[in-house]
Protein backbone atom coordinates (compact mmCIF):
# COMPACT_ATOMS: atom_id res chain seq x y z
CA UNK A 1 0.00 0.00 0.00
CA UNK A 2 1.31 3.46 -0.85
CA UNK A 3 0.75 6.11 1.79
CA UNK A 4 0.83 8.97 -0.69
CA UNK A 5 -2.52 8.18 -2.31
CA UNK A 6 -5.46 10.28 -1.12
CA UNK A 7 -8.04 8.45 1.00
CA UNK A 8 -11.55 9.12 -0.26
CA UNK A 9 -14.74 8.03 1.53
CA UNK A 10 -17.03 5.69 -0.40
CA UNK A 11 -19.59 8.48 -0.17
CA UNK A 12 -18.87 12.02 1.06
CA UNK A 13 -20.77 13.81 3.81
CA UNK A 14 -21.09 11.06 6.40
CA UNK A 15 -17.78 10.90 8.23
CA UNK A 16 -14.41 12.62 8.26
CA UNK A 17 -11.15 11.05 7.07
CA UNK A 18 -8.46 12.52 9.37
CA UNK A 19 -4.97 13.02 7.95
CA UNK A 20 -3.54 11.26 10.99
CA UNK A 21 -4.40 7.57 10.51
CA UNK A 22 -4.37 7.08 14.29
CA UNK A 23 -6.90 9.85 14.99
CA UNK A 24 -10.51 8.90 15.68
CA UNK A 25 -12.68 9.91 12.72
CA UNK A 26 -15.77 12.00 13.26
CA UNK A 27 -19.37 11.22 12.37
CA UNK A 28 -21.15 14.10 10.61
CA UNK A 29 -24.51 14.63 12.31
CA UNK A 30 -27.21 17.27 12.57
CA UNK A 31 -28.23 18.71 15.92
CA UNK A 32 -31.55 20.42 16.51
CA UNK A 33 -30.93 23.79 18.16
CA UNK A 34 -34.52 23.80 19.50
CA UNK A 35 -34.80 20.41 21.21
CA UNK A 36 -31.19 19.24 21.19
CA UNK A 37 -31.76 15.90 19.39
CA UNK A 38 -28.88 14.58 17.24
CA UNK A 39 -29.36 12.79 13.92
CA UNK A 40 -27.25 10.71 11.57
CA UNK A 41 -27.11 11.25 8.68
CA UNK A 42 -27.63 15.00 8.45
CA UNK A 43 -31.14 16.32 7.95
CA UNK A 44 -32.83 19.72 7.81
CA UNK A 45 -36.07 19.05 9.67
CA UNK A 46 -35.77 17.74 13.21
CA UNK A 47 -37.52 14.35 13.33
CA UNK A 48 -38.38 14.86 17.00
CA UNK A 49 -39.84 18.40 17.14
CA UNK A 50 -40.09 19.28 13.41
CA UNK A 51 -38.03 22.45 13.87
CA UNK A 52 -35.97 23.49 10.84
CA UNK A 53 -33.28 24.98 13.03
CA UNK A 54 -30.76 22.17 12.78
CA UNK A 55 -27.03 22.60 12.43
CA UNK A 56 -24.23 20.34 11.23
CA UNK A 57 -22.12 18.99 14.03
CA UNK A 58 -19.32 16.43 14.18
CA UNK A 59 -19.00 13.92 16.97
CA UNK A 60 -16.21 11.40 17.59
CA UNK A 61 -16.91 7.97 16.13
CA UNK A 62 -17.27 5.93 19.28
CA UNK A 63 -20.12 4.42 21.20
CA UNK A 64 -21.82 1.32 22.59
CA UNK A 65 -22.60 -1.76 20.50
CA UNK A 66 -26.38 -2.22 20.54
CA UNK A 67 -26.39 -5.29 18.30
CA UNK A 68 -24.20 -7.03 15.73
CA UNK A 69 -23.94 -9.80 13.19
CA UNK A 70 -21.41 -11.35 10.84
CA UNK A 71 -22.45 -11.47 7.20
CA UNK A 72 -21.10 -14.50 5.30
CA UNK A 73 -20.74 -12.83 1.91
CA UNK A 74 -17.97 -10.59 0.54
CA UNK A 75 -18.32 -6.88 1.25
CA UNK A 76 -19.91 -5.25 -1.78
CA UNK A 77 -17.43 -3.22 -3.81
CA UNK A 78 -14.40 -4.35 -1.82
CA UNK A 79 -11.15 -5.62 -3.29
CA UNK A 80 -9.55 -6.47 0.04
CA UNK A 81 -9.00 -10.14 0.79
CA UNK A 82 -9.89 -9.38 4.40
CA UNK A 83 -13.56 -8.98 3.39
CA UNK A 84 -13.77 -12.01 1.09
CA UNK A 85 -15.02 -14.34 3.84
CA UNK A 86 -17.57 -11.84 5.07
CA UNK A 87 -17.62 -9.01 7.53
CA UNK A 88 -19.14 -7.84 10.79
CA UNK A 89 -21.95 -5.30 10.95
CA UNK A 90 -23.05 -3.44 14.04
CA UNK A 91 -25.59 -0.99 15.33
CA UNK A 92 -23.74 1.54 17.44
CA UNK A 93 -25.34 3.98 19.87
CA UNK A 94 -23.37 7.22 19.89
CA UNK A 95 -23.41 8.85 23.34
CA UNK A 96 -25.08 11.90 21.76
CA UNK A 97 -28.11 9.76 20.83
CA UNK A 98 -28.07 8.55 17.22
CA UNK A 99 -27.90 4.84 16.45
CA UNK A 100 -25.82 4.13 13.36
CA UNK A 101 -25.39 0.95 11.32
CA UNK A 102 -21.94 0.29 9.88
CA UNK A 103 -19.41 -2.50 9.33
CA UNK A 104 -17.40 -3.83 12.28
CA UNK A 105 -13.71 -4.71 12.30
CA UNK A 106 -12.86 -8.07 13.83
CA UNK A 107 -14.32 -11.55 14.17
CA UNK A 108 -17.79 -12.40 15.39
CA UNK A 109 -16.42 -13.97 18.58
CA UNK A 110 -14.93 -10.57 19.53
CA UNK A 111 -18.28 -8.75 19.44
CA UNK A 112 -20.51 -8.37 22.48
CA UNK A 113 -23.74 -6.43 22.98
CA UNK A 114 -23.01 -3.46 25.25
CA UNK A 115 -19.26 -3.26 24.57
CA UNK A 116 -17.49 -0.01 23.72
CA UNK A 117 -16.45 0.39 20.08
CA UNK A 118 -14.33 2.99 18.31
CA UNK A 119 -14.43 4.07 14.67
CA UNK A 120 -11.51 3.66 12.28
CA UNK A 121 -10.98 4.46 8.64
CA UNK A 122 -10.22 1.34 6.58
CA UNK A 123 -9.34 0.89 2.95
CA UNK A 124 -12.11 -0.94 1.12
CA UNK A 125 -10.78 -0.68 -2.42
CA UNK A 126 -7.40 0.38 -3.78
CA UNK A 127 -7.49 2.33 -7.03
CA UNK A 128 -4.61 3.72 -9.05
CA UNK A 129 -5.14 7.28 -7.98
CA UNK A 130 -6.83 6.87 -4.60
CA UNK A 131 -7.87 4.54 -1.81
CA UNK A 132 -11.62 4.27 -1.28
CA UNK A 133 -12.21 4.08 2.46
CA UNK A 134 -15.05 3.20 4.81
CA UNK A 135 -15.73 3.94 8.44
CA UNK A 136 -15.99 0.84 10.57
CA UNK A 137 -15.99 0.19 14.28
CA UNK A 138 -13.69 -2.01 16.33
CA UNK A 139 -14.21 -3.25 19.87
CA UNK A 140 -12.11 -1.29 22.36
CA UNK A 141 -9.78 -3.62 24.25
CA UNK A 142 -10.89 -3.79 27.87
Amino acid sequence: MTDAKPRVPVKPGYYTVPDDPNATPEVICSRCTECGEYFFPRRLVCAKCLSRKTEETRVPARGTLYSYTFVHIPLFGSTKIEYAEGYGVGQIDLPEGPRIQLPLAGKREQFRVGQQVRGEISVMREQEDKDVVILRFRPVEA
Binding site: V10, F39, Y68, T69, H72, L75, G77, V89, R99, R108
Partner: protein, 378 residues
Protein backbone atom coordinates in the same frame (compact mmCIF):
# COMPACT_ATOMS: atom_id res chain seq x y z
CA UNK B 1 -69.17 3.72 4.33
CA UNK B 2 -69.90 0.57 2.35
CA UNK B 3 -68.95 -2.78 3.85
CA UNK B 4 -66.38 -4.50 1.61
CA UNK B 5 -66.06 -8.20 0.75
CA UNK B 6 -63.48 -10.30 -1.10
CA UNK B 7 -65.34 -12.11 -3.84
CA UNK B 8 -62.48 -13.95 -5.48
CA UNK B 9 -58.80 -14.76 -5.18
CA UNK B 10 -56.23 -16.24 -7.55
CA UNK B 11 -52.53 -16.99 -7.64
CA UNK B 12 -49.74 -18.06 -9.93
CA UNK B 13 -47.49 -20.26 -7.84
CA UNK B 14 -44.36 -18.36 -6.82
CA UNK B 15 -41.10 -19.69 -8.24
CA UNK B 16 -38.73 -19.27 -11.15
CA UNK B 17 -40.21 -18.49 -14.55
CA UNK B 18 -37.25 -17.61 -16.77
CA UNK B 19 -39.22 -18.18 -19.98
CA UNK B 20 -42.54 -16.62 -18.97
CA UNK B 21 -43.25 -12.91 -19.36
CA UNK B 22 -44.39 -11.15 -16.21
CA UNK B 23 -47.57 -10.10 -18.03
CA UNK B 24 -48.47 -13.76 -18.40
CA UNK B 25 -47.93 -14.42 -14.71
CA UNK B 26 -50.24 -11.50 -13.97
CA UNK B 27 -52.79 -12.72 -16.50
CA UNK B 28 -52.96 -16.19 -14.96
CA UNK B 29 -53.46 -14.81 -11.43
CA UNK B 30 -55.99 -12.24 -12.63
CA UNK B 31 -58.02 -14.80 -14.59
CA UNK B 32 -57.96 -17.16 -11.60
CA UNK B 33 -59.35 -14.43 -9.35
CA UNK B 34 -62.04 -13.48 -11.88
CA UNK B 35 -63.04 -17.14 -12.27
CA UNK B 36 -63.10 -17.58 -8.49
CA UNK B 37 -65.37 -14.52 -8.23
CA UNK B 38 -67.53 -15.73 -11.12
CA UNK B 39 -66.95 -12.48 -13.00
CA UNK B 40 -65.73 -11.36 -16.41
CA UNK B 41 -63.18 -8.57 -16.78
CA UNK B 42 -66.05 -6.52 -18.29
CA UNK B 43 -67.61 -6.44 -14.81
CA UNK B 44 -64.56 -4.79 -13.24
CA UNK B 45 -64.91 -1.06 -12.40
CA UNK B 46 -61.27 -0.36 -11.49
CA UNK B 47 -57.90 -2.07 -11.14
CA UNK B 48 -55.18 -1.48 -8.56
CA UNK B 49 -52.02 -3.28 -9.62
CA UNK B 50 -48.70 -3.33 -7.87
CA UNK B 51 -45.10 -4.33 -8.48
CA UNK B 52 -41.77 -3.34 -6.99
CA UNK B 53 -39.06 -4.42 -9.38
CA UNK B 54 -40.42 -4.03 -12.87
CA UNK B 55 -40.24 -1.04 -15.21
CA UNK B 56 -42.76 1.77 -14.72
CA UNK B 57 -46.10 0.97 -16.41
CA UNK B 58 -45.53 -2.78 -16.25
CA UNK B 59 -48.69 -3.21 -14.20
CA UNK B 60 -50.83 -1.22 -16.58
CA UNK B 61 -49.48 -3.13 -19.57
CA UNK B 62 -49.99 -6.46 -17.83
CA UNK B 63 -53.65 -5.70 -17.19
CA UNK B 64 -54.18 -5.48 -20.97
CA UNK B 65 -53.71 -9.26 -21.02
CA UNK B 66 -57.10 -9.44 -19.28
CA UNK B 67 -58.81 -7.10 -21.73
CA UNK B 68 -58.97 -3.46 -22.79
CA UNK B 69 -62.21 -2.09 -21.43
CA UNK B 70 -61.26 1.49 -20.62
CA UNK B 71 -61.22 0.67 -16.92
CA UNK B 72 -59.18 2.97 -14.61
CA UNK B 73 -55.90 1.30 -13.69
CA UNK B 74 -53.67 2.59 -10.90
CA UNK B 75 -50.23 1.26 -10.08
CA UNK B 76 -49.37 0.96 -6.40
CA UNK B 77 -45.90 0.46 -4.96
CA UNK B 78 -45.03 0.16 -1.30
CA UNK B 79 -42.08 -2.27 -1.22
CA UNK B 80 -42.93 -5.66 0.30
CA UNK B 81 -46.31 -4.30 1.30
CA UNK B 82 -47.22 -3.47 -2.32
CA UNK B 83 -49.93 -6.11 -2.74
CA UNK B 84 -51.38 -5.34 0.67
CA UNK B 85 -51.36 -1.61 -0.07
CA UNK B 86 -53.10 -2.22 -3.41
CA UNK B 87 -55.80 -4.19 -1.60
CA UNK B 88 -56.19 -1.33 0.83
CA UNK B 89 -56.65 1.20 -2.00
CA UNK B 90 -59.34 -1.01 -3.51
CA UNK B 91 -60.96 -1.37 -0.10
CA UNK B 92 -60.98 2.41 0.43
CA UNK B 93 -62.41 3.08 -3.03
CA UNK B 94 -65.22 0.53 -2.60
CA UNK B 95 -65.89 1.57 1.00
CA UNK B 96 -66.18 5.20 -0.15
CA UNK B 97 -68.72 4.16 -2.77
CA UNK B 98 -66.65 5.09 -5.83
CA UNK B 99 -66.56 1.59 -7.31
CA UNK B 100 -68.26 -1.72 -6.78
CA UNK B 101 -66.12 -4.49 -8.29
CA UNK B 102 -62.38 -3.88 -8.17
CA UNK B 103 -59.52 -6.15 -9.26
CA UNK B 104 -56.34 -6.05 -7.20
CA UNK B 105 -53.23 -7.50 -8.80
CA UNK B 106 -49.65 -8.01 -7.65
CA UNK B 107 -46.90 -9.12 -10.03
CA UNK B 108 -43.13 -9.28 -10.06
CA UNK B 109 -40.14 -11.08 -11.51
CA UNK B 110 -37.53 -10.54 -8.86
CA UNK B 111 -35.21 -12.94 -10.66
CA UNK B 112 -34.85 -10.43 -13.52
CA UNK B 113 -33.38 -7.72 -11.30
CA UNK B 114 -31.32 -9.55 -8.69
CA UNK B 115 -27.70 -9.23 -9.66
CA UNK B 116 -28.27 -5.94 -11.44
CA UNK B 117 -25.62 -4.03 -9.52
CA UNK B 118 -25.61 -0.30 -8.97
CA UNK B 119 -22.96 1.77 -10.78
CA UNK B 120 -21.13 2.82 -7.62
CA UNK B 121 -21.14 1.34 -4.13
CA UNK B 122 -23.13 3.26 -1.58
CA UNK B 123 -22.50 3.62 2.11
CA UNK B 124 -25.58 1.49 2.73
CA UNK B 125 -24.58 -1.42 0.52
CA UNK B 126 -22.69 -3.07 3.36
CA UNK B 127 -25.91 -3.44 5.38
CA UNK B 128 -28.06 -6.09 3.75
CA UNK B 129 -31.57 -6.96 4.89
CA UNK B 130 -30.17 -10.21 6.24
CA UNK B 131 -27.71 -8.27 8.37
CA UNK B 132 -30.41 -6.03 9.69
CA UNK B 133 -32.65 -8.90 10.74
CA UNK B 134 -29.70 -10.80 12.15
CA UNK B 135 -29.08 -7.83 14.43
CA UNK B 136 -32.70 -8.02 15.55
CA UNK B 137 -32.00 -11.64 16.48
CA UNK B 138 -28.71 -10.88 18.25
CA UNK B 139 -30.40 -8.21 20.35
CA UNK B 140 -33.32 -10.50 21.16
CA UNK B 141 -30.91 -13.28 22.21
CA UNK B 142 -29.17 -10.76 24.47
CA UNK B 143 -32.38 -9.50 26.06
CA UNK B 144 -34.52 -12.63 26.22
CA UNK B 145 -32.18 -15.58 25.98
CA UNK B 146 -33.63 -16.63 22.62
CA UNK B 147 -31.79 -19.59 21.09
CA UNK B 148 -31.12 -20.25 17.38
CA UNK B 149 -33.31 -23.35 17.92
CA UNK B 150 -36.34 -21.09 18.46
CA UNK B 151 -35.73 -19.40 15.11
CA UNK B 152 -35.11 -22.77 13.46
CA UNK B 153 -38.38 -24.13 14.79
CA UNK B 154 -40.31 -21.22 13.21
CA UNK B 155 -38.51 -21.75 9.90
CA UNK B 156 -39.10 -25.53 9.96
CA UNK B 157 -42.79 -24.94 10.69
CA UNK B 158 -43.11 -22.62 7.69
CA UNK B 159 -41.22 -24.99 5.36
CA UNK B 160 -43.49 -27.83 6.44
CA UNK B 161 -46.63 -25.69 6.04
CA UNK B 162 -45.40 -24.95 2.52
CA UNK B 163 -45.41 -28.67 1.76
CA UNK B 164 -49.19 -28.61 2.35
CA UNK B 165 -49.78 -25.69 -0.03
CA UNK B 166 -49.75 -26.40 -3.78
CA UNK B 167 -49.03 -22.68 -4.39
CA UNK B 168 -45.93 -22.67 -2.18
CA UNK B 169 -42.61 -22.00 -3.92
CA UNK B 170 -40.74 -24.31 -1.57
CA UNK B 171 -42.12 -27.84 -1.47
CA UNK B 172 -39.88 -29.90 0.82
CA UNK B 173 -40.20 -33.61 0.00
CA UNK B 174 -39.24 -34.65 3.52
CA UNK B 175 -40.17 -33.10 6.82
CA UNK B 176 -37.87 -30.18 7.61
CA UNK B 177 -36.32 -30.41 11.07
CA UNK B 178 -34.86 -27.88 13.48
CA UNK B 179 -31.47 -29.57 13.04
CA UNK B 180 -31.73 -29.29 9.25
CA UNK B 181 -32.47 -25.57 9.45
CA UNK B 182 -29.55 -24.98 11.83
CA UNK B 183 -27.16 -26.97 9.61
CA UNK B 184 -27.96 -24.91 6.50
CA UNK B 185 -25.23 -22.40 5.62
CA UNK B 186 -25.01 -19.19 7.60
CA UNK B 187 -26.22 -16.02 5.85
CA UNK B 188 -25.72 -13.57 8.68
CA UNK B 189 -25.10 -15.00 12.10
CA UNK B 190 -27.33 -16.34 13.71
CA UNK B 191 -29.57 -16.60 10.63
CA UNK B 192 -29.11 -19.55 8.30
CA UNK B 193 -30.22 -19.80 4.67
CA UNK B 194 -33.27 -21.84 5.64
CA UNK B 195 -34.42 -19.10 8.03
CA UNK B 196 -34.73 -16.67 5.10
CA UNK B 197 -37.28 -16.31 2.30
CA UNK B 198 -36.24 -17.18 -1.27
CA UNK B 199 -36.28 -14.84 -4.24
CA UNK B 200 -38.79 -15.65 -6.96
CA UNK B 201 -41.36 -14.61 -9.52
CA UNK B 202 -45.12 -14.74 -9.33
CA UNK B 203 -48.47 -13.04 -9.29
CA UNK B 204 -51.54 -12.95 -7.07
CA UNK B 205 -54.91 -11.28 -7.35
CA UNK B 206 -58.17 -10.58 -5.55
CA UNK B 207 -61.55 -9.18 -6.49
CA UNK B 208 -63.17 -6.95 -3.90
CA UNK B 209 -66.71 -5.60 -4.01
CA UNK B 210 -69.50 -4.20 -1.88
CA UNK B 211 -70.74 -6.67 0.70
CA UNK B 212 -74.24 -6.42 -0.77
CA UNK B 213 -72.87 -7.40 -4.19
CA UNK B 214 -71.00 -10.33 -2.68
CA UNK B 215 -74.21 -11.56 -1.04
CA UNK B 216 -75.95 -11.54 -4.44
CA UNK B 217 -73.09 -13.39 -6.16
CA UNK B 218 -72.06 -15.79 -3.39
CA UNK B 219 -74.06 -18.80 -4.68
CA UNK B 220 -74.11 -20.32 -1.21
CA UNK B 221 -70.37 -19.96 -0.63
CA UNK B 222 -69.20 -18.33 2.64
CA UNK B 223 -68.62 -14.59 2.26
CA UNK B 224 -65.31 -13.12 3.38
CA UNK B 225 -65.45 -9.50 4.53
CA UNK B 226 -62.67 -7.01 5.18
CA UNK B 227 -63.28 -6.12 8.83
CA UNK B 228 -60.27 -3.83 9.22
CA UNK B 229 -57.60 -2.18 7.07
CA UNK B 230 -54.64 -0.11 8.22
CA UNK B 231 -51.60 1.55 6.70
CA UNK B 232 -49.09 3.29 8.93
CA UNK B 233 -45.56 4.61 8.79
CA UNK B 234 -42.91 5.16 11.42
CA UNK B 235 -43.06 7.45 14.43
CA UNK B 236 -39.72 8.85 15.44
CA UNK B 237 -38.15 7.53 18.57
CA UNK B 238 -34.59 7.58 19.88
CA UNK B 239 -32.53 4.82 18.31
CA UNK B 240 -34.23 5.12 14.92
CA UNK B 241 -31.99 3.94 12.07
CA UNK B 242 -32.22 6.35 9.17
CA UNK B 243 -29.93 4.42 6.82
CA UNK B 244 -29.91 0.95 5.38
CA UNK B 245 -32.62 -1.67 5.08
CA UNK B 246 -34.53 -1.31 8.29
CA UNK B 247 -37.69 -2.42 9.87
CA UNK B 248 -38.58 0.61 11.88
CA UNK B 249 -39.39 0.36 15.50
CA UNK B 250 -41.50 -2.64 16.45
CA UNK B 251 -43.97 -0.04 17.57
CA UNK B 252 -45.23 0.30 13.99
CA UNK B 253 -46.61 -3.26 14.05
CA UNK B 254 -47.95 -2.77 17.57
CA UNK B 255 -49.76 0.41 16.48
CA UNK B 256 -51.12 -1.37 13.38
CA UNK B 257 -52.50 -4.17 15.54
CA UNK B 258 -54.17 -1.72 17.91
CA UNK B 259 -55.78 0.10 14.97
CA UNK B 260 -57.20 -3.01 13.28
CA UNK B 261 -58.49 -4.51 16.54
CA UNK B 262 -60.35 -1.26 17.20
CA UNK B 263 -61.81 -1.24 13.68
CA UNK B 264 -62.82 -4.89 13.81
CA UNK B 265 -64.28 -4.61 17.30
CA UNK B 266 -62.39 -7.65 18.56
CA UNK B 267 -58.83 -8.60 19.38
CA UNK B 268 -56.32 -11.42 18.91
CA UNK B 269 -58.33 -13.79 21.12
CA UNK B 270 -60.97 -13.96 18.35
CA UNK B 271 -58.51 -14.55 15.50
CA UNK B 272 -57.76 -18.12 14.39
CA UNK B 273 -54.91 -17.66 11.90
CA UNK B 274 -52.25 -15.08 11.08
CA UNK B 275 -49.97 -14.30 8.11
CA UNK B 276 -46.99 -12.02 8.75
CA UNK B 277 -43.91 -10.60 7.02
CA UNK B 278 -41.65 -13.53 7.91
CA UNK B 279 -38.85 -12.68 5.45
CA UNK B 280 -36.61 -13.99 8.24
CA UNK B 281 -37.69 -16.24 11.11
CA UNK B 282 -36.80 -13.64 13.76
CA UNK B 283 -39.51 -11.39 12.34
CA UNK B 284 -42.27 -13.90 12.94
CA UNK B 285 -41.05 -14.36 16.51
CA UNK B 286 -41.24 -10.62 17.17
CA UNK B 287 -44.69 -10.34 15.57
CA UNK B 288 -46.17 -12.95 17.93
CA UNK B 289 -45.69 -10.35 20.63
CA UNK B 290 -46.13 -7.12 18.68
CA UNK B 291 -49.49 -8.25 17.26
CA UNK B 292 -50.65 -9.33 20.71
CA UNK B 293 -50.71 -13.14 20.27
CA UNK B 294 -48.58 -13.58 23.36
CA UNK B 295 -47.21 -11.35 26.09
CA UNK B 296 -43.85 -9.65 25.77
CA UNK B 297 -41.04 -12.06 26.53
CA UNK B 298 -43.21 -15.16 26.14
CA UNK B 299 -42.65 -15.90 22.46
CA UNK B 300 -39.97 -18.52 23.18
CA UNK B 301 -42.20 -20.47 25.59
CA UNK B 302 -45.05 -20.35 23.07
CA UNK B 303 -42.75 -21.62 20.30
CA UNK B 304 -41.63 -24.52 22.49
CA UNK B 305 -45.31 -25.37 23.11
CA UNK B 306 -46.12 -25.24 19.38
CA UNK B 307 -48.73 -22.50 19.86
CA UNK B 308 -48.28 -21.11 16.35
CA UNK B 309 -48.05 -24.39 14.43
CA UNK B 310 -50.94 -25.96 12.52
CA UNK B 311 -53.02 -27.62 15.23
CA UNK B 312 -51.71 -25.13 17.81
CA UNK B 313 -53.43 -22.21 19.52
CA UNK B 314 -53.17 -19.69 16.61
CA UNK B 315 -51.35 -20.98 13.52
CA UNK B 316 -49.05 -18.44 11.82
CA UNK B 317 -47.90 -18.54 8.18
CA UNK B 318 -50.28 -21.40 7.41
CA UNK B 319 -49.41 -21.33 3.69
CA UNK B 320 -45.67 -21.49 4.36
CA UNK B 321 -45.19 -17.78 4.85
CA UNK B 322 -42.59 -15.75 3.00
CA UNK B 323 -40.02 -18.40 3.99
CA UNK B 324 -41.69 -21.22 2.04
CA UNK B 325 -44.58 -19.88 -0.06
CA UNK B 326 -42.15 -17.23 -1.30
CA UNK B 327 -41.77 -13.47 -1.53
CA UNK B 328 -41.47 -12.19 -5.10
CA UNK B 329 -42.37 -8.65 -3.95
CA UNK B 330 -45.53 -7.09 -5.38
CA UNK B 331 -47.75 -10.19 -5.14
CA UNK B 332 -46.68 -11.31 -1.65
CA UNK B 333 -49.33 -9.45 0.34
CA UNK B 334 -52.05 -10.79 -1.95
CA UNK B 335 -50.81 -14.35 -1.43
CA UNK B 336 -51.59 -13.79 2.25
CA UNK B 337 -55.10 -12.68 1.22
CA UNK B 338 -55.46 -15.75 -1.04
CA UNK B 339 -54.55 -18.04 1.85
CA UNK B 340 -56.76 -16.30 4.39
CA UNK B 341 -59.80 -16.27 2.09
CA UNK B 342 -59.39 -20.00 1.38
CA UNK B 343 -59.02 -20.73 5.10
CA UNK B 344 -62.12 -18.70 6.01
CA UNK B 345 -64.14 -20.46 3.32
CA UNK B 346 -62.92 -23.84 4.55
CA UNK B 347 -61.14 -24.55 1.24
CA UNK B 348 -57.55 -24.83 2.51
CA UNK B 349 -57.25 -28.61 2.23
CA UNK B 350 -54.59 -30.33 4.34
CA UNK B 351 -53.60 -27.12 6.09
CA UNK B 352 -57.16 -26.09 6.98
CA UNK B 353 -57.44 -24.39 10.37
CA UNK B 354 -60.61 -25.74 12.01
CA UNK B 355 -63.40 -23.21 12.62
CA UNK B 356 -61.49 -20.34 11.05
CA UNK B 357 -63.71 -17.27 11.38
CA UNK B 358 -61.16 -14.43 11.37
CA UNK B 359 -57.66 -14.10 9.95
CA UNK B 360 -55.04 -11.37 10.21
CA UNK B 361 -52.65 -10.38 7.41
CA UNK B 362 -49.62 -8.23 8.23
CA UNK B 363 -46.95 -6.89 5.90
CA UNK B 364 -44.01 -4.55 6.30
CA UNK B 365 -42.88 -2.43 3.35
CA UNK B 366 -39.23 -1.44 3.14
CA UNK B 367 -39.24 -1.43 6.90
CA UNK B 368 -40.94 1.92 6.71
CA UNK B 369 -44.63 1.14 6.32
CA UNK B 370 -46.90 -1.47 7.87
CA UNK B 371 -50.14 -2.66 6.27
CA UNK B 372 -52.54 -4.88 8.16
CA UNK B 373 -55.96 -6.35 7.44
CA UNK B 374 -58.44 -8.50 9.30
CA UNK B 375 -60.69 -10.71 7.18
CA UNK B 376 -63.78 -12.38 8.63
CA UNK B 377 -66.29 -14.97 7.52
CA UNK B 378 -69.72 -13.53 8.29
Amino acid sequence: MEQVAILGVGMKRFGFYPDVHVNELARDAGLAALDDAGLSFADIDAVYAGHIFMQPMTAVRAVKELGLTGVPIQRIENASATGSAALREAYLAVAAGHYDKVLVLGLDKMTEVIGRTPAAPELEDAILPAAFFAMWATRRMHERGTKPEHLARIAAKNWNNGALNPMSQRQPKEKVTVEGVLKAGMVAWPLTKMMACPIGDGAAAAVVCRLETAKKLAKGRPIVRIAASHLGSEKYERGHLFMGPVVGPGRMSRDAAKAIYEQAGFGPEDIQLVQVHDAFAIEELEYYELLGFCREGEAEVCIERGDFELGGRVPFSTDGGLIARGHPGGPTGLAQIWETVLQLRGEAGKRQVPNARAGLCHMMGGGSVCVAHILVRD
